[in-house]
Symmetry: C2
Subunit: 459 residues, 2 copies
């Protein structure tokens, strides 16, 4: 990094908030994906004005800037692909306002998802999206990737709760979008444009979020299915039945085997295990919904239907689902977690097709996810040092995306495009859409310094 | 209109779908707002390709194009301010797909809101936003203005249900946004950008909407308050109490007087009347929520709390609210319906301030609306032929916007900017935001032919 840039950055954030020490640059060179690229330096900005000064400097010197939260991205979104500066937002982590009376909170981007939930708990309110990474991931990252989670079918995803943003633009100017109101149709919806834009349009420095009152009654139930297709059909029917479960999750047989290898849960190694959660204010409301769900499960030969009678039992029922990721990651030295999403009715079909892809390419693809909104995660587990297996994995992934798009699906439900899916963008978006995305990027970031190389925009 | 343009338009849509007859042009010169401007011609396109050809022609000749649904805009959005062509979309009115199994519908923009509800009813599903204009307004117009309604607090507004769009761009190219999935974070969110853009970025030719299962239990209750401020405080407390009513409406004393003049409802002419609706799957769920709401109402001296014991009784309770608009419109020869929106906790304060503005300028401002999401409608009723009163009305409106913005409110919750609020945009949005909106408009519509003159974009 040029001496004068280095000095200018230290002048802006203070020496203690700048680093170009190798050990730091190495840790900033990767996120939770397989991708790696080393930045030239990293800063921990303390406030919006510092971010603005950094962007002015970056514009002056044409330096790439990659904003970063907790680095939990599974697609390489937080990897500084073109070097330059990593903007670690984790020290801008204040909850600025909790306004239950206005049904909103105002936070800095570095606030950890779970810390917001803990702060809201005493008021009986919560922020509904619940990414699996919530214990560590930051709200800035959640907004940047439009994070979703287990409660998507009923409660939607991050974008459904972002009321307004403060964003530092590429040239260092500060844009305020949206409002503190539940409703507004005043001008173009820049707020939604920044949500899911992966730091390519601006640096988010403040977030206004809508919050909800917490449900008071929750019911949980699990069921087994001999064939994964039956689970898919049960889900499709539940979503038609007139209710919306607060969670509708599944793990397939490969996940069950893996969990058994690593735990003493002694699960049945059947085709799939389904997890249903219903919520409401009253027991009658959750009973009604659960009864409906169980009807659908039975109609598709769901076995061993188990209802939790206490929060502890519910927690136990969830163990298999919640343990799955960690367990799968230990099966081999490399794991890739995809998150194709399809129209709900095509779930049984695509689950079968993914099994077929797994068999044909002799690649292990345990699959789990949020079936209620058609979003699930084929987890490709393999030996990344084995060139032949790696080649087969890449073929398998390509085919998974292809079948998903053929079924009117999308490349990603909640993880984003990043580097991982960049080359697949034209599969889903035609030339007109791709060109417009590139031109929009250029409008917001004429010198292409904001997280460059992501989302397949350089067409 | 130039002869060759006239002929070219007829060649595209057929003679029977073109008009430049004075009687038609006069009716196309206005919508439900006070604004008027005559177009040079109007067409009723039958399909997307015709719209594409029209836009190519419009680009070639630099003709302004104003898309129009049912013309129910209260802000002049559908008025062809610069002449040119009106694109009446009302004959593209097919429901293309009802896919309950995928929780979505695909419609053409000319489908009337209520017709979609009627089509969904047999399946036990519904499209939650419910604009007051729903009996006549079209879904294309609803999307173009991000229409909201009585159920906003619990169910959100139109943008929360738009999954994808087909849009004809200014140059005639056809853009497809979003997907048929419940979740997608694949590329920039163009879908949300078009929602609420009032036809200034493209012409919407197909809409994919998320739908919800219908609640099975609904409860309705009304209460009177001596002072409007007490009603506002009750609302603010209800929204803090841990529930979200499916409707939380009010009418003020001026509305009650007007309704009494025009009907035999014989309502108490108190400060305000509040309407609460709760919904769920079970009676216990709606009871629980209604009990909570009534606690809050009592704590703020709500009187004569009346619960409906049948759908017929509920309908009767709603009469006062639903009759209000029509009745107010008959009080004088001119009515302007504003829809400022504020953070929920500031409702009592702004209601008082609007009463004060009404008194100071000696202007009648009956107010009603959707307090659950802080969105309400000051209806300015006056003699539009009286220059002095008209001047006082304009002052009063300016002050209403000013106090709303001072309270972190927004100019419009659901009616849009159009022509009516164009000059007030800089009150809410600073120069950076206004410039970015203009540059975005130019990116999508370089020749400024798409509904030009709207939203205050020409800064």
């Amino acid at each position: 990094m040029e001496k004068r840039v280095r000095q200018a950055l230290m002048d802006i954030v203070g020496e203690e908030n700048f680093t170009d020490a190798l050990i730091d640059l190495v840790s900033f060179s990767s996120d939770a994906s397989k991708f790696q690229h080393r930045p030239d330096g990293a800063v921990w900005p303390q406030n919006t004005d510092q971010v603005a000064s950094i962007m002015k400097l970056a514009t002056e010197y044409g330096l790439p800037v990659t904003p970063r939260g907790a680095g939990t991205s599974l697609t390489g979104t937080a990897v500084p692909q073109r070097g330059g500066i990593v903007l670690d937002m984790s020290r801008m982590n204040k909850i600025l306002k909790i306004a239950i009376e206005d049904r909103l909170v105002i936070v800095q981007p570095g606030v950890v998802f779970d810390d917001l939930q803990k702060a809201l708990d005493p008021y009986g309110f919560f922020f509904p999206p619940d990414p699996a990474s919530g214990k560590v991931s930051t709200l800035g990252g959640n907004v940047g990737t439009n994070a979703g989670g287990l409660k998507g079918a009923k409660y939607g995803v991050t974008k459904d709760y972002v009321l307004g943003l403060e964003v530092v633009m590429a040239d260092g100017s500060i844009l305020r979008t949206g409002s503190k109101c539940m409703k507004s149709v005043s001008g173009y919806d820049f707020t939604r444009l920044f949500v899911g834009s992966e730091g390519t349009l601006g640096v988010i420095t403040e977030i206004t979020l809508k919050i909800n009152p917490k449900p008071l009654s929750i019911q949980t139930c699990t069921a087994w299915f001999e064939e994964i297709k039956q689970a898919g059909m049960a889900v499709s029917e539940i979503m038609r039945s007139g209710i919306i479960p607060s969670a509708l999750e599944f793990v397939d047989g490969n996940c069950l085997k893996a969990v058994n290898q690593a735990t003493d849960l002694d699960l049945p190694e059947v085709g799939a295990m389904l997890f249903v959660e219903t919520d409401g204010y009253t027991k009658e409301e959750t009973n009604y919904q659960m009864a409906k769900a169980i009807e659908c499960i039975k109609r598709h030969n769901g076995k061993n239907i188990t209802k939790a009678t206490s929060p502890e039992e519910a927690e136990k029922l969830w163990t298999a689902r919640k343990a799955a990721y960690g367990v799968l990651a230990r099966l081999n030295n490399t794991i890739i977690v995809e998150d194709v999403t399809v129209p709900i009715s095509t779930i049984p079909d695509i689950l079968t097709k993914i099994q077929d892809i797994s068999d044909r390419h002799n690649v292990l693809i345990p699959t789990l996810g949020h079936l209620g909104d058609g979003n699930f995660h084929p987890c490709i587990v393999y030996d990344g040092t084995d060139a032949d297996e790696t080649a087969r994995v890449e073929q398998a992934i390509g085919e998974i995306f292809k079948v998903a798009i053929e079924m009117d699906g999308t490349l990603t439900g909640e993880h984003g495009i990043g580097l991982d899916k960049a080359i697949f963008m034209p599969l889903e978006h035609d030339e007109i859409a791709m060109k417009l995305m590139s031109r929009l990027k250029t409008l917001f970031d004429p010198n292409n310094i904001l997280n460059p190389g992501k989302m397949g925009l350089e067409v």
